[in-house]
């Protein structure tokens, strides 16, 4: 199509058009790409102009004639033919930003750290215990910051505690965190009291409370460790309990992937923070976590079918590829030299933590991408309907926009 300059001028008359952002502009691009109105002079002009404004990069996939998935991506599933309304999304992507995947990582790392801290406490590994208890507190505090920051009205955070709703994973999560947070805080406070040797250094009148604080370290640490697995796994339900195709379709395996990732992150953290002679359990937890993550991912992608595509595309694909590399590096380093070299142990631990974080960002982003493309909503639902009705009536009839 060529650009009729006259139409462009006409278009420019709407003062608002040039400062629209985001959703609207994408709509224009998508519509332009469809070229449905070719031959209708004025609108064709509009489309052409909007099309020229489209970014050069990955967003060009809607352009007429190109395949979904875009540059260099190999579709895992045969091309789907389906109808959409001007390529617009059917479901809405969550409004969540980086806070949420960051929280998944931090919360997971905190949960695993609590488990390591309690285990170290019971098996006489003081340095690992310290790393676990303090790491858990830092992780969960940062989590709270991320969670509150993500709200549209942060000042109303406390409304989360108005109700208890088993149908809302976010409500369940709120109550899990309400239980886990104080226990973690108590265990960490106890650790700090012991570290500062408070029972001996405080004035006589305060020694009693200080001794009590040190004493509650073990029970509160163990209690936190009992709640911790829920902290690590409920977040998978939080994502899956949505209409976001790539999250919902991952529902069977995502909890396992998430606890694996949490184990890897917390193990990695303890490998950085504790000396190698005490970090044995951390290394085993980390390696076990990575293995669980890989196994869960394999099964998950098989079960997902079409909606596994976003896991390999765009930002999500990038994150997850790097995460896999980091996991391999971290695991290899841990297995080969983790018990001998503190520096290799620390580097491996850092790689595992980064891998876990990127896994969370990748899964998060894949869901967002799947929500923005109507294909992932319409095609599986249409296939389900066609299976039920057993009719092939729908296959390939021309009203579907071919992509």
């Amino acid at each position: 199509m060529s650009t009729p300059g006259e139409a462009e001028n006409t278009f420019g008359r709407w003062p608002d058009d040039n400062d629209r952002k985001g959703r609207r502009r994408r709509d224009v691009q998508a519509a332009a790409a469809r070229g449905l109105r070719a031959g209708r002079d004025q609108l064709a002009g509009l489309s052409e102009r909007a099309g020229r404004g489209a970014p050069k990069g990955g967003d060009r996939r809607h352009v007429m004639g190109s395949r979904p998935g875009g540059e260099g991506e190999r579709a895992m599933v045969p091309e789907a033919t389906f109808t959409s309304y001007y390529d617009r999304p059917v479901v809405k992507a969550s409004p969540w930003k980086a806070d949420i995947p960051a929280y998944f990582f931090l919360g997971g790392a905190a949960a695993g750290s609590s488990l390591l801290g309690a285990g170290a406490d019971l098996t006489g590994r003081p340095a690992l215990r310290r790393a676990g208890r303090l790491g858990a507190l830092v992780g969960i505090l940062l989590s709270m910051v991320a969670l509150i920051h993500d709200l549209g009205r942060p000042s109303r955070f406390i409304n989360m505690q108005r109700v208890v709703k088993p149908t809302s994973p976010m409500s369940v999560g709120t109550w899990i965190l309400s239980l886990y947070g104080p226990l973690t805080g108590l265990a960490a406070a106890s650790e700090m009291a012991e570290l500062a040797d408070l029972p001996r250094r405080l004035p006589r009148t305060l020694r009693g409370p200080a001794r009590l604080l040190v004493f509650v370290g073990r029970p509160s640490g163990i209690a936190a460790a009992m709640v911790a697995p829920a902290v690590a796994s409920y977040t998978a339900v939080l994502l899956s309990d949505t209409a976001t195709p790539s999250w919902h379709d991952a529902r069977e395996q995502l909890p396992f992937l998430f606890v694996g990732s949490a184990a890897a992150a917390s193990g990695g953290f303890a490998m950085i923070a504790a000396p190698v002679d005490q970090a044995g359990p951390a290394r085993r937890l980390a390696v076990g976590g990575v293995l669980l993550e890989i196994a869960a991912d394999q099964r998950m992608e098989k079960a997902m079918g079409l909606t596994a595509q976003p896991l390999h595309q765009g930002k999500a694909g990038g994150y997850l590829r790097i995460a896999k590399v980091l996991n391999v590096i971290g695991t290899t380093g841990t297995v080969l030299l983790g018990s001998r070299s503190r520096s290799v142990s620390a580097i491996s631990g850092a790689a595992l933590m980064a891998g876990s974080a990127l896994t969370r960002f990748g899964i998060f982003e894949a869901g967002q991408q799947s929500a923005r493309d109507p294909k992932y909503t319409v095609v599986p639902q249409r296939e389900r309907l066609d299976r039920v009705s057993g009719s092939s009536e729908h296959a390939g009839v021309a009203a579907r926009s071919r992509r």
């Binding site: 309304y85 059917v90 976010m170 044995g280």
Partner: protein, 347 residues
């Protein structure tokens, strides 16, 4: 929470209302929608919804885009070449309504469009449909709301309590129709016309201010919280018809008791089908579908996805018990794994 996921229920009494009035809803009959957008305008005006963009989207006459925080009614326009329709259904003989009609310039045949939206010339057809929140019997947004801000009204509808919502955004990805949305600051800038600063519209002191409307940009209400159609909860309470249905000039949007609307919908579909409109179908009218039936149902003339509707929406919480089970197993796996890692050796 009683488990009502598999049987039709009356949502209001299910939610604990006693002596609730009959469930209220919409039937949007797209076969008589003329795409005038009176519903969009009426909705915006009545509910005081801020402007959220005035751009040309290049999608036929639809410059609204989609439902969202500040768009509670959305009229979809589909221009389809008729050669590309999914069925070659027999075209109904147009009924002469005795109305004056105008065709495209140069068009020989000026008899107007056929009853079900197929142009007589047969080169393309219009589909128009006014979309709205479905007010599901099993509403995912309501299920996942962690604050209780979303609630089931006595009319069986689903409404956000503006003063409770903390903007967690969970309802947004939960909705299988992409209806509810968190209002963003960017999209909520409104031009102050002298009536948005708290002065009720039509107040005498403002009447003479007709010259230049001040172009001050003011912050809209409810920024940061989830917003969607309330089925005009305030009007319902006063015994009125929702603004969109009231404004609809063709009765394409019909308001009433859901049970009665459902019967009407079936009757209308049968009528259309006997007239040869084989593509006529109901959407959201089956109480056994994935959302337990919609409070706002539709009579469509093509498949739902053509209108941007999901073909087979299922409330996400239907799978929630299974998800909790898996999460429990995963939690146990982590606990066991952590324990095992301490038993594995003395290093």
């Amino acid at each position: 929470m009683s488990n009502s996921l598999l049987r039709p229920v009356d949502p209001a009494s299910e939610a604990g209302w006693q002596n609730a009035p009959a469930r209220k809803g919409f039937l949007t009959d797209t076969s008589i929608c003329i795409g005038c957008k009176a519903c969009e305008v009426a909705c915006k005006e009545w509910n005081d919804i801020p402007e959220d963009g005035l751009s040309m989207l290049g999608s036929s006459y639809d410059n609204t885009g989609n439902l969202g925080a500040s768009t509670w009614r959305h009229v979809a326009f589909i221009e389809q070449p008729t050669g590309a329709t999914r069925s070659d259904a027999p075209v109904a003989v147009p009924v002469d309504l005795g109305m004056p009609s105008v065709g495209l310039p140069g068009d020989g045949d000026l008899t107007g469009a056929a009853a079900e939206g197929t142009s007589v010339k047969g080169d393309f057809r219009w589909l128009m449909s006014s979309d709205v929140c479905k007010h599901c019997t099993q509403a995912a947004c309501l299920d996942v709301c962690p604050t209780g801000s979303l609630f089931r009204t006595e009319f069986g509808t689903v409404v956000v309590q503006d003063d409770i919502c903390n903007g967690c955004g969970y309802c947004v990805p939960a909705c299988p129709f992409g209806v509810i949305e968190r209002r963003t600051e960017e999209a909520a800038l409104v031009t102050d016309s002298g009536t948005r600063d708290g002065t009720p519209p039509g107040t005498a002191t403002k009447v003479h201010r007709v010259e230049k409307v001040p172009q001050r940009r003011v912050r809209a209400k409810n920024v940061g919280i989830a917003q969607k159609c309330t089925l005009c909860y305030d009007r319902l309470k006063a015994g009125d018809t929702p603004a969109c249905a009231q404004a609809c000039p063709t009765q394409s949007i019909q308001f009433g008791d859901v049970d009665e609307l459902r019967e009407r919908a079936h009757a209308r579909m049968e009528q259309l089908q006997t007239q040869g409109v084989s593509q006529a179908r109901l959407y959201g009218a089956d109480p056994h579908d994935g959302i337990g039936g919609a409070g706002a149902m539709f009579l469509l003339l093509d498949e739902p996805e053509v209108y941007g509707l999901p073909p087979d929406p299922v409330v996400t919480t239907r799978d929630l018990p299974a998800m909790w089970k898996k999460a429990g197993l995963a939690a146990l796996a982590l606990l066991g794994g952590a324990a095992a890692s301490f038993l594995g050796g003395r290093s």
